[in-house]
Symmetry: C2
């Protein structure tokens, strides 16, 4: 632990800055061992220069080498053993089983991207062969594939200290794409970041990657993040966190001489619609299911169901009573940091002060100063529509029930909502076909539609979409979870009339990589 707290600049460690900070155990408020140095602007520049210098070699290293690097990162993370889990527990108050599961997700994600690179079809090769006899003009041979953008700056998220942090989905997809990564450590779990960075650097050295393919910088404030986002060598930014933080980076990036994409995932309230027959058939089951989703992980998920919508009915009253009871008997939990807990308390209290908001249920357990108590409020559609404050996210174990008079009010609410990561339909299959209009309107607002499930739990696969219309994310055309996350960091390049020997293997005439390619608009491996 001797070097803990120094910047990772390529393969070296550095501590030029004078300001230092420590991380806290959120369940006690006590400082943890390890002193972290705030990076200096010079260190940030060094990391970007090294990343840029590494780009040419890393880009051309090929998918198989990059896959070996990603698999080595997974191995090195597992080799950190229990020390990693213990440090993450201490810094986040998340339970051991959750963090072990999250480590599994992180390692699985790295291996999935490694497999994706080995398989090779991810470059989306598109081929329009020459038509020398076409009239009035011959057609040239055009071949197109994805190529990496260049160095990417990644910001760690507070709520997933492993899966959305140092070696999380953003880092894994950028490295898979062929982009060097400069990572800004999250100050609340800086020790966890330090350990994982060691694993990445060890893996890079072991697999012969160019120095600078990964660097990590510490900073308790915003200066290093701003410097990295504005650095002329940065080609893209990935961020998961608050709307305020995401939009600050977004505007910095757009005001550069050369604007760059910022992929900020800024959370949402994830509306859940309860349809009449479903309420009639299973109001108790729905109450149990939703209560569990609201309080899961002390509500600290960007897919937490923060808004529940339904049309007034006696069955809705039953549901609310059952939901209230489930929340009353639920346990309070320690949140990720004192700041997050204070923010939750303030915002939840503000919600209850809004006109027409009543309490459906609140945890009755004793709550200490480090804990947050689950809470569910209720308001009429009319009040909700006139008060945009009620449309905002309360990060933590909170949800707002909105009761509608009829389908028209329900439609109005959906149309008034800002963009969302997810939208959920709790319905009987027999009734949902009567609500096609509702489903179509909801689709305009979300990145993922869930049927009779809960929005929490984001599968890492080929078909996942984790990203929705603004302000859920800054760019709804991309996902930050799943293999398609790699697309954020690449762009297509076309090769016109190239001799075969000069083409990348993915585009050569005899398809030596045996990958799926779109030839004249048809997919094949031939």
């Amino acid at each position: 632990m001797d070097l803990m707290g120094k910047q990772f600049i390529g393969y070296g460690r550095s501590s030029e800055g004078t300001a230092t900070f420590q991380t806290m155990d959120p369940s006690t408020g006590q400082a943890l061992p390890g002193t972290f140095y705030a990076a200096s602007p010079k260190e940030a520049d060094q990391a970007m220069q090294l990343a840029s210098a590494a780009f040419e070699a890393y880009k051309n290293a090929g998918g198989i080498s990059r896959a070996a690097f990603l698999n080595a990162i997974a191995d090195e993370i597992l080799a950190l053993g229990n020390a990693l889990i213990q440090r993450a527990m201490a810094e986040t108050a998340l339970p051991q089983a959750r963090l072990e599961g999250e480590r599994g997700r992180t390692v699985g994600q790295l291996r999935l991207f490694a497999h994706y690179l080995e398989e090779g079809s991810w470059v989306e090769a598109r081929i329009d062969p020459a038509l020398p006899d076409r009239q009035p003009l011959p057609r040239a041979d055009i071949r197109n594939m994805l190529t990496p953008l260049g160095p990417v700056v990644v910001f760690g998220a507070s709520n997933f200290p492993l899966a959305f942090s140092t070696a999380g989905g953003d880092t894994a997809s950028a490295l898979a794409a062929g982009c060097p990564v400069v990572f800004k450590a999250h100050p609340a779990h800086a020790g966890t970041c330090d350990l994982v960075a060691r694993a990445i650097v060890a893996a890079a050295q072991r697999t012969g990657m160019p120095e600078g393919v990964f660097s990590l910088l510490f900073d308790p404030g915003h200066e290093t993040g701003s410097t990295l986002t504005q650095h002329p060598l940065t080609r893209a930014v990935a961020f998961t966190g608050s709307q305020k933080g995401g939009m600050a980076l977004y505007h910095l990036a757009q005001q550069r001489m050369e604007p760059i994409p910022v992929f900020a995932e800024m959370g949402s309230i994830n509306p859940v619609i309860l349809f009449p027959e479903a309420l009639q058939q299973r109001s108790a089951a729905l109450a149990t299911q939703l209560a569990a989703s609201v309080i899961l992980g002390v509500g600290q998920f960007c897919t937490n169901p923060g808004l529940i919508l339904a049309i007034e009915s006696p069955e809705l009253n039953d549901f609310l009573e059952q939901l209230g009871t489930a929340i009353e008997v639920s346990a309070p939990g320690v949140m990720l940091s004192a700041g997050i807990r204070e923010n939750f308390s303030a915002l939840a209290a503000e919600m209850l002060e809004q006109k027409g908001v009543e309490v459906v249920g609140k945890s009755k357990s004793q709550t200490n100063e480090h804990q947050a108590a689950p809470l569910i409020g209720k308001v009429s559609a009319a009040r909700f529509l006139e008060n945009p404050r009620l449309h905002e996210e309360v990060f933590g174990p909170f949800s707002l029930m909105v009761t509608c008079k009829d389908v028209r009010e329900l439609s109005q609410i959906i149309q008034a909502l800002p963009g969302q990561l997810t939208g959920t339909l709790m319905a009987e299959p027999s009734e949902i076909e009567n609500y096609e209009g509702i489903v179509s309107l909801l689709r305009n607002k979300v990145g993922r539609l869930v049927f009779n499930g809960v929005p929490t739990g984001v599968e890492v696969g080929h078909a996942m979409q984790h990203g929705g219309p603004f302000p859920a994310t800054t760019d709804s055309r991309f996902t930050s979870v799943g293999t398609a996350a790699i697309r954020r960091f690449v762009r297509p390049v076309a090769y016109q009339d190239f001799p075969d020997a000069l083409l990348p293997d993915a585009l050569k005439r005899n398809n030596p990589l045996n990958i799926w390619r779109l030839t004249n608009g048809e997919w094949s491996k031939s």
Copy 2:
């Protein structure tokens, strides 16, 4: 021609504004028949409201209906007959054969998108079927496809009054995606825009499209364009034109409460590298080929080769002599508008005033006040590297030859260049393998690499990339030419655990549309 000059608001015509303008024949400077009204802010709002109202029905109309609409637009454009060609000739001074060819490209592009919709695989269906027995947790069924963003604002380009204007590639790809279009007519060829808008509206009515799927607004200035870009119902903007215009729209869009994507294609200088053996083998042929590309269409293409790079040699001197002669005997041409011609003269003169710039050749023909004379300059790599003014585009028949001492200087120049639409290699296949580093560096800067061809001539196909790193375009991850242009106006939506009856046809279990789908990472039609 009675209604010419009034706004197209859905299926109606309107002229609420008080300011009017006319279009000019650039070869005479004389005003042409027809008075055009500048749109009022209220008219701009009406167009956007109608577009937004049309979105729900148009989005759900399905690919086959939208294909019928696009084919009908193509038919209606052809039905305009010679009147369209005559008006476009009068407004742009482009020759008849070129405009007939451009009409063919425009109609072909619409039919290609129609075919693309009929085939149906463009929605990129991705399917990860449920794994109910997976440990430790079952996997949900996740199905993903592309969905349209909403109303798109399109700006017509001056240099392609048909193929990049009212019914050009941006409009065609947005309509194909399922997005209503509000089109800002280019004031220099407003009459051509008016005629094509009639064709689109007639096609929309004939094929039963919702009113508002297309509107067109006139404005000689920038106000209507700004209003449309800032309008809260606008979901994306497509623009082809100057860097100043594109960046103004980009910044307006990023400063909105809800930022939206702006796809601005802002031109570039399209470097052409002449390699030693190629110069040795065929300096005369290269001179003829490049001279023709520089003067083609009076140099009014965004892929015009504005920069020629080579290492000093006796053969390069031969090439320059031959290039100079070819330019000296070339004819001057009328440019698209008086403004464009004045701009060309001023910028070309400014280039010649830069330190170290010499003239290689200039058209010796008499040039009248409406014409531009082709011109090629020459400068050393050292001078070029120290003067960023020399890296900028001169829109028109101009190119700058930069002579390098060695490969190192050539590499430095490529690294110093801003982003480009294209980069061209003139080389013998035997020598180019010695320059892998040069090709790799050039690839970082361009959207399309051309081998032994000219960059002018952009094929409309599946593999084309027309879009490069900033400032060539605002978003290098997308193309504005070819079928992939549709991707600018769509985003993925995932469906989790949906009953089959509720899924869009593209995602249903038995693949009723018989389209290519990515299931568990493999493409198939089953």
